[in-house]
């Protein structure tokens, strides 16, 4: 069997490839987890600093009710501002189709 060394070689290469793919996958997952963690840290910091004070006021007090209602207002404002990017994008979404009209012909072909 002359072809067996060749087969061995390609089998070895397949193993190296597999290991390489696993390493790349692990790196991607690692980076993804790190970014997700950082993001959640940032959002929790923002949430905790969103109220009138970082410390949660005791329940059943006017201070607690103040905090709740102010958080409610901030949540609402946040909902609106987080949708602004989408609105801005949508407001220009038809530009491509409109600009295409200018490419209806090539005068050099007439």
């Amino acid at each position: 069997m002359k072809s067996s060394p060749q087969r061995d070689k390609s089998a070895g290469f397949a193993l190296v490839e597999t290991v390489l793919v696993l390493v790349i996958l692990a790196a991607i997952v690692g980076v993804g987890l790190y970014v997700a963690r950082q993001k959640s840290n940032v959002s929790s910091t923002l949430n905790s600093s969103g109220g009138s004070s970082a410390v949660k006021a005791p329940a059943g007090t006017t201070a607690g009710i103040n905090q709740l209602t102010q958080q409610d207002a901030q949540t609402e404002a946040g909902i609106d501002s987080s949708a602004d990017g989408g609105t801005q994008q949508t407001s220009t979404s038809a530009n491509g189709a409109v600009n295409n009209v200018g490419g209806a012909y090539n005068e050099a072909n007439y």
Binding site: N66, D72, E76, Q88, S91, V101, A104, E107
Partner: protein, 272 residues
């Protein structure tokens, strides 16, 4: 008999090879043949410009005019479709915001009701109970006022966005109409020149090209110069957020007043 079979075999092999070649070459030739004439950019247009008029330039002019106007109509239709989709997308985005706000308010109402009932449980005397009721009503009023102000600011923002889009569309529609008229006029002029007694094909062709180029460039330059809608939306959003902040200040003042009245009823040492 053997000879006939051999010949048949040869024939079938040859036809198979030809068939295979056809399969390979068909898409290539179809691409070459079916390549649309007007797909090239202005740069390629300039490079492929020939000064010699094509044979039968005047004869094929009406057909070219129809094809070009037809293409513009199709692209105009696509722009209209894009606008419809834009309207639908915008409506869906606004609806999504409304839904999220409604959910947040519901959640906030439930949490506040829980806190208010705990606060009410601290009231022992009739005066205190009455003060809690007054406080509750004041808080509710402040919340209603704040929410109404938010809703109004949100509606102003949306109306502003719609106005900006509508105004932009009417500008574009005017630009499109000018473009379409210029193209039609360029072809009509060329056709009229061709209908003359001794038409100069080369001169007519050059005039047509110049007019079409000018129409296209005018439209494209107009399109470039009015790309400010994103900025308008940004400005409208900033105005809305400022209105939110004003409403928040009023809200906080109302809450502070209600709180002070309640604390007076309970006395300084009570944790309310």
């Amino acid at each position: 008999m053997k000879r006939i079979t051999k010949v048949f075999n040869k024939l079938s092999i040859t036809s198979s090879i030809i068939g295979a070649l056809c399969l390979v070459l068909a898409p290539v030739s179809a691409y070459a043949v079916g390549r649309p004439a007007g797909v090239g950019t202005a740069a390629t247009a300039a490079s492929s410009t020939s000064s010699k008029p094509k044979p039968g330039f005047c004869n094929g002019l009406t057909n070219q005019a129809n094809v070009t106007n037809g293409r513009i109509d199709i692209l105009n239709g696509k722009a209209g479709q894009a606008w419809s989709q834009q309207d639908q997308k915008l409506a869906a985005q606004f609806q999504k915001v409304d839904q999220k706000v409604a959910d947040a308010r519901k959640k906030a109402d439930a949490a506040r009701a829980k806190d208010l009932s705990k606060l009410a449980a601290k009231a022992t005397t009739n005066d205190q109970k009455q003060a809690v009721q007054t406080y509750k009503a004041a808080v509710q009023d402040a919340i209603n006022t704040r929410r109404a102000a938010y809703d109004a600011a949100r509606q102003t923002f949306r109306a502003g966005v719609q106005n900006a889009i509508t105004s932009r569309r009417s500008t574009i529609k005017a630009q499109l109409a000018t473009f379409q008229d210029s193209v039609s006029s360029a072809f009509s002029t060329a056709e009229a020149s061709c209908a003359g007694s001794s038409p100069n094909g080369q001169a007519i062709q050059q005039t047509l090209r110049t007019s079409l180029k000018s129409a296209r460039e005018t439209f494209q330059n107009d399109r470039k110069s009015d790309s400010t809608i994103g900025g308008q939306v940004k400005q409208l959003a900033a105005t809305r957020q400022a209105a939110f902040q004003t409403a928040d200040k009023t809200f906080q003042n109302s809450l502070a007043a209600a709180r002070q009245a309640l604390q007076q009823a309970f006395g300084k040492n009570t944790n309310v």
